[in-house]
């Protein structure tokens, strides 16, 4: 591959992100108040922005790579990433919008009236965010290594520095327009190459390296389903989506709970369309690039395939487009995460000042960088899947029970979060060592959500039941606020929707 294409595409995206970030800073200064302005955001824009922030390295590179590597079992990842928004719609979207909370720590504090519940939630949000950034940086490392020939660490370092500088300088705030644009950029950057490749391949030139029956053996197909692993993965992805730190603030920009629901349905549509293309890339890869099917290497499929199938300038153009889209994915997801993490860290630890936010932004970019440099990526989709398992075991029970169950107490929530964190954390971190000792336990340690989530819920409920201090005083009022539709509360007032948060 011509390294000049890689350099050019990466530079263009990096400069564009920085410019949009700084330009956006001026926009957000001239706007009197971001949250006031955002109440006018249309569901389509909002949904595009959610998609733009959500679609990460795992979606852009990881899914196609995993389809190439493991076969149809990988098709469950995009299904889960999408259907997670269905669960969000069914159990969280409208009530969370009505709660007036910007972040999950805000929500737990308001719901449970407990500083400690807030602190534990903040800690978990920070850990989840950091481990979600790591695969983005590993994706960047892979992209830089494949496309420019530079050492892999240069890619991780570049993304971490760009994100830290842009976020700390105040750019790339949760500007709906920028993130919405990112979604359509990522969609275009995959859709155009896929359509071009399908047209080229349909002409019969170059011929497939494997016959269809070899490329898609029934042994790797949908008929050969590992029920436990699939169910556990689905539990992790469906419930983990609820707790992602950078998703919640987007729901606040809906005018009311009903609009939050409508936005979520549009997100379902947008993600469904998007995931057709990584899936198609994966299918093409199985027939045309079977030699890339190695752990760690298969994630490069999306970057390499256009050049292999379409020689000449057109292929180089498609490659540049894919590289740009991939870098946009790393930057947008990482900066969305760093913004929300820096908010939590500066608010809870550094006194909430602007300086504190900047320090926190730099910390939030560099801790994941150290982890990314110290570890080897074995597959982007898989490592993001583990972050979802951890989120599903820790934040999801508290969110769902907090919204739907009157009896939740601060002690119950903290006990449940601790249980989920310890169980899923040790399965994820110590799983490899443990399954070497006990091979029969391997699936349960590699996909822990199916048992860690129910246990976390059980502990939360039991400890809440046994909590002699009872439920927080404002529980009924808070639950009413979550569930009663907005325009019922202030009858006939002009400000029936889009209420501001309490002081």
């Amino acid at each position: 591959m011509n390294p000049a294409i890689g350099y050019a595409a990466i530079t263009v995206v990096a400069v564009a992100s920085a410019l949009i970030g700084f330009y956006g800073l001026r926009v957000s200064r001239t706007t009197s108040d971001f949250y006031v302005a955002s109440r006018t955001v249309r569901p389509w824009w909002n949904a595009s922005a959610i998609g733009g922030e959500y679609l990460s390295a795992a979606s852009f590179l990881g899914i196609a790579g995993l389809i190439l590597l493991t076969g149809s079992a990988a098709l469950w990842f995009p299904i889960g990433y999408t259907a997670g928004y269905l669960m969000l719609l069914l159990f969280v979207a409208a009530p969370l919008r009505r709660s007036g909370a910007y972040t999950i720590p805000d929500f737990t504090e308001a719901r449970l009236e407990s500083e400690w519940a807030r602190r534990v939630t903040s800690l978990l949000v920070i850990v989840i965010g950091w481990f979600y950034i790591v695969p983005q940086l590993q994706g960047a490392a892979l992209t830089v290594r494949i496309t420019t020939g530079l050492p892999a660490w240069a890619g991780s370092l570049a993304v971490a520095v760009i994100v830290a500088v842009v976020v700390a300088a105040g750019g790339m705030r949760s500007i709906t327009f920028v993130q919405a644009f990112q979604f359509w950029l990522k969609l275009t950057a995959l859709a155009v190459p896929v359509i071009a490749l399908l047209l080229v391949v349909n002409g019969g030139e170059p011929p497939a390296q494997l016959t269809p029956a070899e490329a898609f053996p029934p042994a790797a197909g949908p008929g050969d389903l590992d029920v436990y692993r699939t169910v556990s993965l689905m539990v992790a992805l469906l419930l983990g989506t609820l707790g992602l730190p950078h998703v919640l603030v987007r729901f606040y920009t809906n005018p009311d709970g009903v609009a939050a629901r409508r936005t979520t349905v549009i997100v379902l549509v947008l993600l469904s369309v998007f995931y057709l293309f990584p899936t198609a890339f994966g299918f093409l890869g199985r027939a045309f690039a079977p030699d890339l099917a190695a752990p760690g290497e298969s994630d490069a499929l999306v970057l390499l395939l256009p050049d292999r199938l379409v020689p000449g300038p057109l292929g180089e153009l498609l490659t540049a487009l894919v590289i740009a889209g991939a870098f946009a994915a790393f930057l947008s997801t990482s900066s969305g995460l760093v913004v929300s993490l820096a908010g939590v860290i500066s608010q809870d630890l550094l006194g909430g000042s602007v300086r504190g936010f900047r320090i926190a932004a730099v910390i939030s970019s560099f801790v994941p960088l150290v982890v990314a440099l110290a570890t080897e990526s074995t597959g982007l989709a898989g490592s993001v899947g583990l972050v979802f398992a951890f989120t599903a075991s820790t934040l999801c029970p508290v969110l769902i029970l907090g919204i739907w169950w009157r009896g939740l107490t601060a002690r119950g929530a903290i006990a449940g979060m601790a249980t989920g964190a310890v169980l899923s954390g040790s399965a994820i971190l110590g799983g490899a060592a443990l399954s070497a000792l006990l091979p029969g336990m391997r699936p349960f340690l590699e996909q822990p959500a199916a048992w860690t989530v129910p246990l976390a819920v059980l502990v939360t409920v039991l400890v809440s039941r046994g909590d002699r201090r009872g439920v927080p005083r404002g529980t009924d009022a808070f639950l009413m606020r979550l569930h009663v539709p907005e325009h019922t509360r202030h009858r006939a007032g002009p400000e029936t929707s889009g209420r501001m948060p309490r002081q």
Partner: protein, 147 residues
């Protein structure tokens, strides 16, 4: 927000009104509730601990609790429905071996179906849920506004 009671000088005090205000301004609630006494029982019957404004907040509370219950039931029904439909779809793909041998554009039909088939299902379930949830809220609104 606490001056809203004066602004909302409606024709008659609405049972919904004080509770609605309470949701907006929790600091105004100074009542001491029995936090330690039998939390399980109290959690089942919150009206027992609300004191002197019990008559009004009781009716409002009943409506709110029934709204929460019906929305929760709705969410669970749709989630289970989605899970059952997905599982049946996948099992149907798995038990028909001909799908593995039928190729469309060089890809087995079974792979294509799993790759694209679940998304329309999720969108459909989501769209139906939005309508049903809004219906529940409309029912709640007509109940409380008929008072």
């Amino acid at each position: 927000m606490s001056d809203e009671r004066a602004d909302a000088a409606g024709p008659a005090p609405d049972p919904r009104e004080p509770a609605g205000e309470r949701a907006d301004a929790p600091p105004a609630r100074v009542r001491v509730t029995a936090r330690s006494a039998g939390s399980a029982a109290a959690s089942a019957r919150p009206a027992l601990i609300t004191g002197s404004d019990a008559p009004t907040s009781d009716i409002a509370g009943v409506y709110v609790r029934s709204l929460i219950r019906s929305q929760l039931r709705l969410g669970i029904v749709f989630a289970v429905g989605f899970a059952v439909a997905t599982a049946s779809f996948v099992m149907a793909i798995a038990v028909v071996p001909e799908l593995d041998a039928t190729f469309v554009l060089g890809v087995p039909l079974s792979w294509l179906l799993l790759g694209v088939g679940v998304y329309p299902l999720a969108i459909t379930v989501g769209g139906l849920y939005v309508r049903a949830a809004s219906r529940n809220e409309a029912r709640y609104r007509s109940l409380t506004e008929d008072e």
